[in-house]
C-alpha cells in the first residue's frame, strides 16, 4: 500500500527534525556529567532530609523518580518552548516555515527527538539514583505504568508544542519565561514530594501540567506502600491524561496557525538582517 504523499512528507519532516536530537544524544557526550550526575546531587539533599525525618522508605523512590522526570520538564522549557527563539537566531526558523510541510511536523520532530534524548538522561538518573540510594520498586501493573508514562509524555510534549507556538512571536523574553517557569513547576508538580501535600485545589490546579498527574500515578503504581499518599486514583489520573493529550495537541495546532499568521504580519519569523 502506497502512503499518501502528504503523509509521507509529514513523516519525513518528523524524522528529519528529530534526527539532530537523536544523534546529538550519542555524538556529544558532554551532557553526561551535568545532566546525570548533577541531578543526583540535587535530589540527594531531599533523600537525606527524608531519611533524617525517618520518612517511609518509598519517599526516597518518590524523589529519584521525580528527579528523573525533571529531565523532561527541562527539555520542554529549553528545547521546546524557547526553541524557536534559538532557531530564529540561526535562521533555521524561516527555513522551517517556508518548507512545504506543516510546521506541526517540525514541532513533532522536535518533540520526539527531545523525548528520546530526555529518556536517556532520565534513565541515567533512575539507574544511578536507584543504585546509590537503594531504591526498591514494587510495580503492581507494568502495563498501566507504561500507559501512564506514554500518555504523560504525549500530553507533556503537546504542551511543549503549544508553548513553542505561543512563543513564536517572542524574542529573548521566551528565554526569560522559560527561566520563570522552571522552579515553580518543580514545586507545584511535586517533583520531590507527593503532590497531595499541597492540598486538593492546589494539586488540581497543578494538574494542568501533565507531569503532575503522571508522576503521582506512577509513584502509586511503583511504590504502593501508603495508598493514602496518592492524589487521585491511577486510573482516574490516566483518564485525565487521556483527555489532556488531544487538548494540548489541538491547542498547539491552532496556536501555531494563529502565531504564524501574526508573525507574518509583524515580520518576526526572521531577524531583520537575515
Amino acid at each position: 500500500m502506497r502512503i499518501p504523499p502528504s503523509l509521507e512528507l509529514f513523516l519525513r519532516a518528523i524524522v528529519g527534525r528529530a534526527y539532530p536530537r537523536v544523534v546529538g544524544a550519542n555524538r556529544e557526550l558532554s551532557w553526561l556529567i551535568p545532566e546525570s550526575v548533577l541531578p543526583i546531587l540535587g535530589l540527594a539533599a531531599y533523600v537525606y532530609v527524608y531519611r533524617a525525618m525517618k520518612a517511609p522508605p518509598e519517599f526516597v523512590g518518590y524523589v529519584v523518580l521525580g528527579g528523573a522526570m525533571t529531565a523532561y520538564w527541562l527539555n520542554i522549557l529549553w528545547s521546546m518552548a524557547s526553541q524557536f527563539y534559538w532557531e530564529k537566531e540561526t535562521a533555521n526558523l524561516q527555513l522551517f516555515i517556508m518548507a512545504p510541510v506543516s510546521p506541526m511536523a517540525i514541532l513533532l520532530g522536535m518533540g520526539i527527538g527531545g523525548l528520546f534524548s530526555s529518556t536517556i538522561r532520565a534513565g541515567a538518573v533512575i539507574l544511578l539514583g536507584s543504585l546509590l540510594f537503594g531504591v526498591t520498586y514494587q510495580v503492581t501493573s507494568l502495563g498501566l505504568v507504561l500507559l501512564i508514562f506514554f500518555l504523560s509524555m504525549v500530553a507533556l510534549y503537546g504542551m511543549g508544542m503549544l508553548l513553542a507556538s505561543l512563543f513564536l512571536l517572542s524574542g529573548r523574553e521566551a528565554w526569560n519565561l522559560s527561566n520563570a517557569l522552571q522552579e515553580p513547576v518543580y514545586l507545584f508538580s511535586g517533583f520531590y514530594f507527593p503532590v497531595k501535600s499541597l492540598g486538593f485545589w492546589a494539586a488540581a490546579a497543578a494538574s494542568i501540567i501533565p507531569l503532575t498527574l503522571g508522576l503521582d500515578a506512577m509513584r502509586q503504581l511503583m511504590f504502593p506502600g501508603d495508598p493514602t499518599m496518592g492524589f487521585l486514583s491511577p486510573w482516574m489520573e490516566c483518564g485525565i491524561l487521556l483527555l489532556l493529550c488531544p487538548v494540548f495537541l489541538y491547542l498547539s495546532r491552532m496556536a501555531l496557525k494563529k502565531m504564524e499568521h501574526a508573525a507574518r504580519i509583524r515580520g518576526t519569523l526572521s531577524l531583520r538582517w537575515q
Binding site: 504523499p5 509521507e8 512528507l9 519525513r12 519532516a13 524524522v15 528529519g16 527534525r17 534526527y19 539532530p20 544523534v23 546529538g24 555524538r27 556529544e28 540561526t90 535562521a91 533555521n92 524561516q94 527555513l95 522551517f96 516555515i97 517556508m98 518548507a99 512545504p100 510541510v101 517540525i106 507574518r264 504580519i265 515580520g267 519569523l269 526572521s270 538582517w273 537575515q274
Partner: protein, 334 residues
C-alpha cells in the same frame, strides 16, 4: 512568456521605535514595487543595504505579508496560496548560519531535503553532486560546527538546490566568500540555469559585476522603489548619453563638495593611502561639463594626475540613478 514572479504596487511598512523617546514611526521598506520576472530568467535585484531587497524576497517566499499591493509567484498569490508556492521555491541567504553544528554537512543537507519530501536515494545523489560542484566533497562528513564561514556558505548554497526548486531566491549568495569560492558558485548558477531552462532565479546582490556577469535582466532598487529595470546592456546604454569621467588626483581628499556643481549627476571617490592617490568617478550630464569640473579642481589647487573617459558599468548606472555609489550609502543627490 510566463511570469514566474509579479508584484503590483507592493508596499511593506514596519513600525520601528527610534529616537531618545523611543517614538514609533513607520518605515517604508517597499514603496509601490512593480516587477515582472519571466520563467527561465536569471533576474538580478540590485541595491544598497536597506534598499528593500530582502523584504521583497521575504514577501515572495511567504515569510512576510505585504502591507498593501499584490505579489504572485508562479501565478499564485503569496497571501492565499501559501502551500503551493512553498512547494515550488527555495531560498538561500548569504551569511546565514542555518543547520545544527552537531550534524555533518551531508546530514544537514539531508535533513533539509526531508522537509521537502525528497526520497532518500535521490537526496543523497543530489547531495553528492552538489558537494562535488562546490568543492565540499572532502568535508561531506565533517561537522558543521567545524566548517569555516566560506564552507558553511557553500553548504547553504547546496541546501537551496538540493530540493530542485522551480523558482530559487538567492539573497546575496556570495556574501563573505573568497574570490575562488564566489567564482565557483557563479559558475554553478550559470550551469544550473543552462541545464534547467524552465527554472527561474531571483538574485539579490550589491556586487554589480556579479549581476552584470550573471543576470538576463536587472532591477535597481533604492529606498523601497524600483528605479530602473532592463538588461544590463540596455541600462548601460541609457546612461551613455552623458559622460563618465575618471579623474586621478595626487593626495587624499574628501570630494563631496563637488556634488553641488551643476552638470554633475553623481559621483564616487576612493582614496588609496598606499599610493597617496584619490580616484574620482563622475557621472556628468554631458561632456561640456568637463572643463568646468577641471577648473573647479584646479581652483582648489588639487593636483590632477590623469583624466580619462570610461565605459559605463552597472555601478555607473546605479550612480546615475541614485546619485551615490553602493559603498557610500549616506551620500545624497546634489
Amino acid at each position: 512568456m510566463n511570469k514566474a514572479i509579479q508584484t503590483i504596487d507592493l508596499v511593506r511598512e514596519f513600525k520601528v521605535k527610534a529616537g531618545k523617546n523611543r517614538e514609533t514611526r513607520l518605515l517604508h521598506a517597499l514603496d509601490g514595487v512593480n516587477l515582472e520576472v519571466y520563467s527561465g530568467e536569471l533576474f538580478g535585484l540590485l541595491g544598497p543595504n536597506g534598499a528593500g531587497k530582502t523584504t521583497l524576497i521575504k514577501i515572495l517566499v511567504t515569510l512576510l505579508y505585504p502591507t498593501s499591493g499584490q505579489a504572485f509567484v508562479d501565478g499564485l498569490d503569496v497571501t492565499k496560496d501559501v502551500l503551493p508556492i512553498r512547494q515550488r521555491i527555495n531560498m538561500v541567504s548569504g551569511g546565514e548560519y542555518s543547520g545544527y553544528g552537531i550534524l555533518t554537512v551531508k546530514e544537514t543537507l539531508w535533513m533539509f531535503s526531508q522537509f521537502y519530501g525528497v526520497p532518500y536515494i535521490e537526496a543523497f545523489k543530489r547531495i553528492e553532486e552538489l558537494l562535488e560542484v562546490v568543492g565540499l566533497k572532502s568535508e561531506a562528513n565533517m561537522r558543521v560546527s567545524r566548517l569555516s564561514t566560506g564552507m558553511r556558505q557553500k553548504m547553504n548554497f547546496c541546501r537551496g538546490f538540493v530540493t530542485d526548486p522551480k523558482i530559487l531566491f538567492l539573497d546575496e549568495p556570495t556574501l563573505g566568500l573568497d574570490v575562488e569560492a564566489a567564482r565557483d558558485i557563479r559558475a554553478y548558477i550559470k550551469t544550473w540555469m543552462k541545464e534547467h531552462p524552465d527554472r527561474t532565479i531571483l538574485l539579490t546582490t550589491h556586487y554589480m559585476a556579479e549581476a552584470d556577469e550573471l543576470c538576463d535582466r536587472v532591477a535597481i532598487i533604492d529606498h523601497g522603489k524600483i528605479l530602473a529595470c532592463d538588461t544590463p546592456q540596455a541600462l548601460k546604454k541609457k546612461i551613455s548619453g552623458g559622460a563618465l569621467l575618471e579623474v586621478s588626483l595626487a593626495g587624499l581628499y574628501e570630494l563631496n563638495w563637488l556634488k553641488g556643481n551643476s552638470g554633475i549627476k553623481g559621483l564616487t571617490f576612493s582614496s588609496s593611502i598606499e599610493k597617496n592617490r584619490t580616484t574620482l568617478k563622475l557621472v556628468l550630464e554631458s561632456e561640456e561639463v568637463v572643463p568646468g569640473v577641471i577648473k573647479e579642481l584646479n581652483q582648489r589647487e588639487l593636483s590632477i594626475l590623469g583624466i580619462q573617459s570610461v565605459e559605463p558599468t552597472l555601478e555607473d548606472v546605479f550612480l546615475t540613478l541614485v546619485g551615490r555609489g553602493l559603498s557610500d550609502e549616506n551620500s545624497t543627490l546634489p
